[in-house]
């Protein structure tokens, strides 16, 4: 009983961390069709922002949940103005440009923070479930992911800004004809996407040893999750994160962490072979 609870928490945690890792990319790539190869570096910057802020005496939760998303969002804004806005609709060109950006960010982080491992301790203590101990921080990540998904849903579905953003992504020319500036809306959306990446990097920072090349560890998982999710933004994110999270954890428990990672990749290959349009290309059609 206790064990099944512990395993359930670990599975939920794996799903939640996939949701977090992929949310920013789902906005930037899923909505805006910008292949952002610097997504992992945005996360890495979120981590470094948190560690720097904590080092300056800021409360760790404020650093993770407020400062890191804002800082990385602003960096995203600058990047959008300088580079990305010239490349909308040019899929392959954005790929090249953002790959260059990722190298620049790695280089800058190496210059500023040094090519060395840094980290902070997890701010939440563990607790006991029957005979087992589990990490309290895992719950925090699950909560953040749930709140994040609800907030995204609320903004995109419930607010006028969300409606305008969705409309602009579908038909920028119509949005312009109705008097909205697609340029501004793209800019704001890219800011949100970057801020989400920054948040993910910040929240995951206490769990990992951070180096300037840390972004590489996330980028593949993020793209796999978003692509396998398919055209629907949130339904796709949730369904693919759940499938991969469960597969990963089941194999991790049954065999080993290495096999868990392998199983995730194999599952992605099989899934995309069966559903080339992603999960929401077949199921949950028309959902957000």
């Amino acid at each position: 009983m206790d064990l099944s609870f512990v395993i359930a928490v670990e599975v939920l945690y794996a799903v939640a961390s996939l949701v977090l890792i992929s949310a920013g990319l789902a906005v930037v790539f899923g909505m805006m069709k910008v292949i952002n190869l610097a997504h992992g570096e945005f996360m890495m910057l979120g981590g470094y922002t948190t560690i720097t802020a904590v080092g300056l005496g800021v409360n760790v939760f404020i650093a993770m949940l407020v400062i890191a998303p804002l800082v990385v969002g602003l960096i995203g804004l600058i990047v959008e103005r300088l580079v990305i806005r010239h490349l909308y609709g040019r899929l392959v060109d954005t790929m090249l440009a953002t790959w260059g950006l990722s190298l620049v960010f790695i280089g800058l982080a190496t210059m500023i923070f040094g090519n060395t491992t840094t980290g902070i301790s997890t701010p939440i203590p563990g607790f006991a479930v029957g005979d087992y101990q589990i990490s309290g921080y895992n719950f925090f990540i699950i909560v953040v992911a749930v709140v994040l998904v609800i907030a995204m849903l609320a903004v995109l579905r419930g607010t006028r800004a969300g409606l305008i953003a969705r409309g602009t992504m579908q038909r920028a020319d119509m949005a312009a004809a109705l008097g909205y500036s697609p340029d501004r809306i793209y800019m704001a959306t890219f800011f949100c996407g970057s801020a989400l990446s920054g948040l993910a990097g910040a929240v995951l920072a206490p769990l990992v040893g951070l180096v300037p090349t840390s972004g590489g560890a996330y980028i593949a998982k993020a793209f796999i999750t978003v692509i396998a999710g398919g055209p629907s933004l949130i339904a796709g994110l949730l369904s693919s994160a759940t499938s991969f999270g469960v597969v990963n954890q089941v194999f991790t428990f049954a065999i080993s962490p290495v096999i868990g990672e392998v199983a995730l990749l194999v599952a992605a290959v099989i899934l995309l072979r069966l559903m080339p349009q992603g999960i929401t290309g077949r199921f949950f059609k028309g959902k957000l």
Partner: protein, 406 residues
Amino acid sequence: MSLNRRDFLGRTAALTTTAMLPTAVFADGTIKLGSILDASGPFDAYGKPMDQAMRMAVSEINEAGGLLGRQVEVTAYDTQSDMALYSQYGQQLTRQDKVDVVHGGILSASREAIRQTMRKTKTLYFYNVLYEGGVCDRNIFINGVTPAQQVEALVPFAMKNSGKKVYILAADYNYGQITARWIQKFVADNGGEVVGTDFFPLDVSDFGSTIAKVQTAAPDLVIAPLVGGAHLSFFRQWAAAGMKDKIALASTTLGVGNEHKVLTPEEGNGIMCAYNYSQELDTPENAQFKEKWAAMFDGDQSMHEIAVSHYHGIKTWAEGVRKAGSLDRMAIIEALETGISIMGPGGKVTVDPKTHHAVLDVHLMEMQDQQMKVIETLPQRQPVDTQAVCDLSANPNDNTQYEIEI
């Protein structure tokens, strides 16, 4: 690779020209010491202090008038925690820089990446790091502790403080794999039982499911030969899950890169380990060493187990050169094989002629408030694991890494 006649002639000509370059060009200049270490990247906690230790040892040698009346000059390469760069810089040190000796390599993977290059180019090689034992090669001298010196002492010590059921979490490459087998052997020898073994690639940093899995096996003790910056998160997550007071923890690697100073006291306290060196060793040699280090590096105190091993290694090599009275590789090897001893911050270190490993002191320790408190000292332990399989005086041409069979 296809090779046509033109390529072949071109390469042969290039090789011959290189071979004919006078190797004695530096005869009256400086002695060239090659250094190859990860001074940046995930393994820099190991490599940076090793680089400092090397520079300190060389400056001490030079201040004392050098070797054979010549100054020692350092040629150093930073391999950035990238195993591929070892092969490249190994070639560069031996074929372009033509150094007289190479000191370096940290992970066992990096040592094996350059060991054959050193042997082929007849460049004397020192690997000064704690490792899994068994390397038998007359061209290499090894200064670090081996499993028979370390694991054999650590396992009964840790089991006595906890219990008989042991779980092993090891790094997934030659060091972790072979060390895990040694741990299994010594646990069985002490009447215990290994209830589980897991291996982790060096970039794994999420141990959540592992911690849950360990609990299902309910061991009394976890022994963790984990390596590098990413694996350090295991000790954080272990403490964050509140496991520290439930299951005892021992490691064959934690502290080697001063990890106990990175972890908070709450995360580190009580973890057991066994090494040749601790900053807390109360000897005049260590006090003097720490003082000199602080003076040379602006008050820095980052010396650790393998930095001290590296220092011992360079001092041993210098002693060998002095005794040989020449820079000839074979003369130095033969001088070292007479069983040269040095006194260093980690105590007396003697070259074992049969295996080219070291006889040295090992201390059982426990982490306490970011220090490594020495609990018990085991003086002058022999590398018996390697001695059992390797005899370089009988088989000077041996070139194998022997692995333990279970």
